[in-house]
């Protein structure tokens, strides 16, 4: 498999892909000879991963699309349904409520952790390397390490009628507000949101603080000399410098909100009514309890597209100027 060295036209095999490498030196003949064979045989390295991915992700993904056009109970004969399932997803009031629940969760999963993280980061600037800093980091990361199911169980207890939240409310004389937060029609969704905020707050804070410590202190000094107050300083220096970190936090947390499942499943199972049902949970219910595989798949496709529709603009906005 040796190619003629120095042939004028080489296939894609010898074309160096544009990338961060410094592959700019002129290609010497002997390098090209091994290069071409090695590049093709290199597929042996890529193949195992791609094979697994094709069988257990790409094939199911294609099947999700396929199922979504059928009416199927998972056992009997599937009946072609055209776009009916999609029509149901975008017109059925229950399903629309379920989708809107996921967007409401974004406020709690994304906006609150990012806003609070920014606030704390701009106040703290950097966490010292000493034991205090290590302890703070470790503790703030705990929610990232434990399973979401555990967070759900812990907070179900905290938010229950005898839980800590109500205990505190009663202690400060606000006992009238006490209730079973996750069971109350009006507070269930925000209560689920609080659990998500708790999980993601530490990660966002540490990401922001880490980003903060990379900002050149001279920028702040310059801002101070120009007479900027803390607020101006925040908008002129902190916010633009942390653009990348904010993008990362938003991406991670928005996906966590839209695709949430574990926390909701454990803390409320979607109730009361449909108050806290999210698309992930509804897909699970439709597919495995109600045997409406077609509708579940259509909802799955919609969920996937919603995630992309939210994440791609965030990436675009926050990566700009970085490259």
């Amino acid at each position: 498999m040796t190619s003629a060295p120095g042939s004028a036209r080489t296939g894609p095999a010898a074309t160096p892909s544009p990338g961060p490498s410094n592959h700019s030196s002129p290609v010497r003949p002997h390098r090209r000879r091994w290069g071409r064979t090695a590049r093709w045989s290199g597929w042996l390295y890529v193949l195992p991963a791609m094979l697994m991915y094709a069988v257990f992700v790409l094939r199911p993904l294609a099947l999700t699309f396929q199922y979504s056009f059928y009416d199927w109970n998972g056992i009997g004969v599937a009946r072609w349904a055209g776009l009916d399932n999609y029509l149901t997803v975008v017109t059925d009031s229950d399903l629309l409520k379920i989708i809107s629940n996921a967007f409401i969760l974004i406020i709690f999963f994304s906006l609150i952790p990012v806003a609070l993280g920014l606030l704390v980061a701009s106040l703290v600037r950097r966490i010292t390397a000493g034991p205090f800093g290590t302890a703070v980091r470790t503790i703030l990361f705990l929610p990232q390490v434990i399973p979401l199911v555990a967070a759900g169980i812990a907070w179900s207890w905290l938010l229950s009628s005898n839980g800590l939240v109500n205990q505190v409310l009663r202690a400060v004389g606000l006992g009238g507000l006490a209730r079973a937060w996750l069971g109350d029609f009006n507070t269930a969704l925000p209560a689920v949101g609080v659990i998500g905020a708790w999980v993601l707050l530490g990660l966002c804070t540490i990401l922001m603080v880490t980003g903060m410590s990379k900002i050149d202190p001279a920028l702040y000094e310059a801002a101070r000399i120009d007479g900027a107050g803390p607020v101006r300083e925040f908008f002129a220096v902190t916010l633009p410098s942390l653009r990348h970190e904010i993008g990362v936090c938003l991406t991670v947390t928005v996906i966590a909100a839209l695709a949430s499942f574990d926390i909701v499943y454990i803390s409320t199972s979607g109730g009361p009514g449909l108050q806290t049902t999210v698309p992930g949970l509804e897909i699970y219910r439709l597919a495995f309890s109600q045997r409406q595989v077609g509708l579940a798949s259509a909802l799955a496709v919609v969920l996937m597209l919603l995630v992309l529709a939210c994440v791609l603009p965030i990436q675009r906005l926050t990566r700009e100027g970085k490259e």
Partner: protein, 274 residues
């Protein structure tokens, strides 16, 4: 950095408040877990006579030994294979620059934001057809595949930053592709591989959706899946539920505390790149 004393103090106060809020759920769970069985605990009250025996009860009831074994088996099935094939693919895409690699990589990127819920239904039927439902393979095989987008993305990012000249020099010395990979590139990639291993371990241990959909028997699930079953069974016995949950958390916490520096590094890098 010239922070005024007041600013410094406000920062500290916020930080400590945040730490307390993070810790409270754990403390509250511990206080409930130590109450006598059959009582109704309140939010946070140190019991006059802490019932440490509750943890022993929970250990037996939750069948902790079997759960630990099951989770370990799943981790052993998922993590090494994922890390190896992802490292190989990252090497192929980032260093060897295989023809059509950009297309393969594009396919993988497609899966980077994919919610697991979007493919869980077909995976269920696929596993049923393979006759693997209710076995640990039903969790292991799809998990390896679902990790590929991130894992390959991660390793490729590392390998495309290694100067091509290094590979070329090795070639000149007559080493084969495998030698180049195994003797030269893998040792250099060790930090990236270590971080990836930690992340995949954590995600596998905590995987919930696949566990509850594909495996009915809690003793064949991951830790998170088992915890879900435990809650379903003992949800009304709050004391036992809290004790059991804390117990199920303990192995993760111990591993985290031992490797916390690496964990935090991995998690930070992981989210920055992901």
């Amino acid at each position: 950095m010239n922070l005024s004393r007041r600013e410094w103090l406000t920062g500290r106060v916020f930080l400590i408040a945040l730490v307390l809020v993070t810790l409270l759920p754990f403390v509250s769970m511990l206080s409930a877990a130590l109450q006598p069985r059959g009582t109704v605990p309140t939010g946070l009250a140190w019991p006059s006579d802490p019932q440490w025996g509750n943890f022993v009860d929970a250990f037996t009831v939750a069948n902790m030994a079997a759960l630990l074994r099951s989770s370990l088996l799943i981790v052993v099935g998922v993590v090494p294979v994922s890390v190896v094939i992802a490292t190989m693919a990252g090497f192929g895409l980032g260093q060897l620059r295989v023809p059509g690699g950009r297309f393969a990589f594009g396919l993988l990127l497609l899966g980077l934001t994919l919610p697991f819920e979007a493919v869980i239904t077909p995976i269920y039927y696929q596993m049923r057809d393979f006759g693997l439902l209710n076995t640990r393979w039903a969790i292991i095989l799809p998990l390896i595949a679902l990790y590929m987008p991130f894992a390959v993305f991660w390793m490729r990012a590392h390998f495309s930053n290694v100067p091509i000249e290094l590979s070329e020099a090795a070639r000149m010395d007559g080493s084969s592709t495998w030698q180049l990979f195994w003797r030269i590139q893998v040792p250099l990639a060790r930090p990236a591989i270590a971080s990836l291993t930690i992340l995949l371990f954590l995600w596998t241990w905590n995987q919930f959706l696949l566990a509850i959909v594909l495996v009915d028997d809690a003793t064949k699930r991951t830790m998170a899946g088992a915890l879900g079953a435990f809650q379903g069974q003992w949800g009304t016995d709050l004391v036992l539920l809290c004790a059991g949950s804390l117990l199920i958390l303990t192995p993760t916490l111990i591993v985290f505390l031992i490797f916390q520096r690496q964990f935090i590094k991995a998690l930070l890098q992981g989210s920055l790149k992901g």
